[in-house]
């Protein structure tokens, strides 16, 4: 039981009073930062770097890791209450979280998010502990062809995410993919759809689109419905979950946690893609899949467990390969280098205190997060009691401050407005927003991977079926598209 010995060693570091204090500071700061749209874990971590200069490396990483998973944990709050995702990884949480809040079940949605996050986080820590070195092999086995196949599989979720009209869902997804390729093309250095503006060279930030299409469009929509006064005072509702609800969610949470963890392990994929994959998987598996998007508890539980598990998973390539899989882990890597620790294949041997100390601190941090968040829910959810005029202004301010805080660019505010209007038009005409977001997050990686793979193979498309992982993923994608059609045909022929 070497892993347990290592963990005991890790706990001896994590439970040191100073480290305990830093875990607490980290997760507390992280939750708050996560709740505020725009102020994501990346900028928060950058702000922490000067603080970590004078800390012991283990303590420094414990603090920064706490901020990171704390932010993912806290990000669900504004997704659920305001339809304004706090961090990119919690966009999918708003699909069912916000409708639940609208139905007067905000308390329950927040509680589910907290429990699911806790379970997802814990499962990912167990994964980190037992199979991190092994998993680094999985991470490197994914090359361009495999990534492309994974993205194709992810995109088949469009079918389940477009509730009424598949055509409208596909249109939305393609618009999302088009938005994703704005900016400088990596493979040729060519500008695409930038209209000569340097602000668009790096592409359009995902959060600008998400906040525009979800939160701002919601504000516009409510304004249009204006005088009718459809809603009276919002209820927060009970936080308690019934036994049957717990049973109903157990399997989805477990599945999404594992899925999320593996997604997090892959560099470049991460919490956002993980939460979408978890959400669409559960929507397809659920018997009541058609109530997803209308306030289904599993629609909150699945993405929340997946994104927190993915956050833990993203530490695998960082710590075992020295490879950052995302902007946030790149900041972590930079901070570790500044503190004199070089993450990589030798880290477990060279700095076991940092490696095992951080993993053990994540257990502690997750418990802190749960204990910290649950009692606060009734107070935070009060925000819904605010008069509508106030609430709408609040969402507006959140969106604008959040978007401005991304790059301190007023150009992004114009983009926010544009996407708010696009979101409103889509909503008025029955175009679902989720496929657009899905196309946006998967599109860029899918296109890049496809072209990279073809460049490696010299233009030979067989690279996608020669590689076993890629072939299997593509077959699953084909199956998941084909099965419903076959099912329908069988039903038709029977009834005929």
């Amino acid at each position: 039981m070497e892993a347990l010995n290592n963990l005991m060693y890790g706990f001896s570091i994590a439970l040191d009073p100073i480290n305990l204090m830093y875990v607490f500071i980290g997760v507390f700061a992280g939750t708050i930062i996560g709740m505020l749209p725009g102020l994501g874990p990346m900028s928060a971590l950058a702000l922490m770097i000067p603080i970590t200069f004078n800390l012991n490396p283990a303590t420094g990483l414990i603090l920064m890791a706490g901020v990171y998973y704390g932010a993912i944990f806290g990000g669900s709050t504004s997704s659920i209450l305001l339809n304004a995702p706090g961090v990119a990884g919690t966009v999918a949480t708003s699909f069912d979280g916000y409708p639940m809040a609208q139905k007067g079940m905000a308390g329950k949605a927040l509680a589910i998010a907290a429990y699911a996050s806790f379970v997802g986080g814990t499962i990912s820590i167990i994964g980190l502990m037992f199979i991190a070195p092994l998993l680094s092999k999985v991470a490197v086995s994914f090359g361009p062809a495999e990534y492309f196949a994974l993205m194709v599989l992810g995109l088949t979720a469009v079918v389940s995410l477009s509730d009424k009209s598949l055509v409208k869902g596909l249109i939305a997804a393609i618009v999302g993919m088009m938005i994703s390729i704005v900016g400088m093309d990596l493979q040729t250095g060519t500008e695409r759809y930038t209209f000569g503006s340097i602000e668009m060279l790096d592409g359009i930030n995902f959060l600008v689109v998400a906040l525009g299409i979800f939160a701002l469009a919601e504000v516009f929509y409510m304004l249009l419905r204006g005088g009718k006064k459809v809603q009276k005072r919002n209820e927060i509702g009970s936080l308690k979950l019934s036994m049957s609800e717990v049973k109903e969610m157990a399997a989805p949470v477990a599945r999404s946690s594992v899925l999320g963890f593996f997604t997090g392990v892959l560099p470049g994929a991460g919490a956002t893609i993980g939460s979408f994959l978890g959400y669409s998987m559960e929507k397809r598996l659920a018997k009541d899949g058609d109530t997803f998007g209308k306030g289904n508890i599993k629609g909150v539980a699945a993405p929340e467990s997946a994104n927190n598990a993915a956050c833990g998973g993203s530490f695998v390539p960082l710590l075992t390969l020295g490879v950052p899989g995302s902007g946030t882990t790149a900041v972590l890597l930079g901070a570790l280098l500044v503190m004199g620790v070089t993450p990589g294949p030798m880290m477990i041997e060279q700095r076991p205190d940092v490696f095992w100390g951080v993993i053990a601190s994540m257990y502690v941090g997750n418990i802190f997060l749960l204990v910290l968040n649950l009692p606060l829910i009734p107070y935070i959810a009060r925000i819904l009691d605010a008069p509508r005029a106030l609430l709408l202004s609040l969402i507006l301010i959140f969106c604008m401050v959040g978007v401005y805080g991304l790059n301190f660019s007023s150009f992004d505010l114009v983009l926010l407005l544009v996407f708010g209007l696009i979101g409103l038009v889509m909503r008025l005409n029955g175009f679902p927003a989720a496929p657009l977001i899905l196309g946006l997050i998967l599109g860029a990686l899918m296109e890049e991977s496809m072209r990279r793979a073809l460049q490696i193979s010299g233009g030979d498309w067989s690279i996608f079926i020669d590689k076993p992982i890629s072939l299997v993923l593509l077959l699953i994608a084909l199956l998941s598209l084909g099965l419903p059609v076959v099912k329908k045909m069988i039903q038709k022929s029977r009834s005929a």
């Binding site: 493979q187 500044v338 990279r452």
Partner: protein, 332 residues
């Protein structure tokens, strides 16, 4: 392979310090009474976490802990356009003598690729501080034993893939394409696969998806320690102390490539302000805190004062223009 960076780097840092000491004194003799009157904005033209950001934060921190200036140097991130967004902002603020920014080869490459209106001549070079070098890595079981094996294989098979962590036409691509040209190949014969970060390129190599990877020597140290990868050559003029990797030159390829980093200021700042900053950074590089930081980060001191740095940049422009031209990526 055993890599011990600490002691040899330290001795190198000492030599660097001796050099900077003389440079510093020279600068000091012309320094006047000009001093910043409020906090200096020290801009990293990118998101947190990258090379520019680390340089800005480390330098600002050393200036503070060593009490080198009476005012605070505030690290500010202005990401976008591979630097172009920040450059445009700074170019507009051409007289602001309380503004500095971190710089490196993209200040030349991005304008050449046609995506920035402003290039290095629109700013004042303050000082070159440090440098890193490119290193070519292959998997341990790769058939290529030295850089000539690799270039010979590329010559026969133009599909042979070499991954890098930046876009086509940017640093990693220029570095390897230039080396190939120096080895007698056409620069365009390198099948350069652009990944969106050095890390992704490295995982692709570890997984056997590309044949070789070009990256910064500093980033590669941990990977080389792990023993799954081998280095074929490094782009430095002489071997990097502590890193047992032969240079291109030793292997008969007459080519060097510096991943230099330095500091620039807006174009029209007063001469006295320029002298102040030039002197400040020279003094900063003599401090123990700075030496400790460079050792930790695997940087090599490469100080040049404002004038030398400016001349160096003009030379880089010609070198890069030639390689980009051969690659067909020259747009400006």
């Amino acid at each position: 392979m055993k890599v011990n960076l600490s002691t040899p780097l330290k001795s190198l840092a000492l030599i660097g310090a001796a050099l900077t000491l003389t440079a510093g004194m020279a600068a000091q003799s012309v320094a006047s009474d000009w001093k910043p009157s409020k906090a200096v904005e020290f801009i990293a033209p990118a998101n947190p976490g990258g090379g520019w950001d680390t340089l800005v934060r480390t330098a600002a921190n050393v200036i503070r802990t060593e009490n080198l200036a009476e005012v605070n140097f505030a690290a500010i991130n202005v990401p976008g356009g591979g630097g172009a967004v920040a450059w445009a902002q700074i170019a507009r603020d051409n007289r602001n003598d309380h503004k500095l920014f971190a710089t490196s080869p993209p200040i030349i490459l991005v304008p050449l690729a046609g995506t920035s209106r402003f290039n290095h001549t629109d700013f004042t070079p303050v000082a070159r501080l440090i440098t890193d070098y490119s290193i070519v890595l292959v998997a341990n079981d790769s058939p290529y034993q030295d850089i000539n094996d690799l270039f010979a294989a590329i010559g026969e098979n133009p599909r042979l893939s070499v991954g890098g962590g930046s876009a086509a036409g940017s640093m990693d691509h220029i570095s390897i394409a230039g080396a190939a040209a120096a080895a007698g190949l056409n620069a365009a014969s390198v099948n350069y696969i652009a990944f969106s970060g050095g890390g992704e390129a490295m995982t692709s190599l570890l997984g056997g998806h590309v044949e070789a990877v070009i990256t910064g020597a500093g980033e590669a140290v941990a990977q080389l320690q792990g023993g799954d990868l081998r280095a074929l050559g490094v782009s430095s003029p002489e071997r990097i102390p502590g890193l047992d990797v032969p240079t291109y030159k030793e292997q008969g390829v007459d080519y060097t490539f510096d991943i230099w980093r330095g500091v620039m200021a807006p174009k029209d700042i007063p001469e006295e302000a320029l002298r102040y900053y030039e002197d400040l950074f020279a003094r900063m590089m003599e401090t123990d805190d700075w030496k400790e930081a460079t050792e930790r980060l695997g940087w090599l001191d490469a100080y040049q004062n404002s004038e030398e740095f400016g001349a160096f940049l003009d030379g880089q422009l010609e070198q890069f223009r030639a390689v980009l031209g051969e690659l067909g990526l020259l747009r400006n």
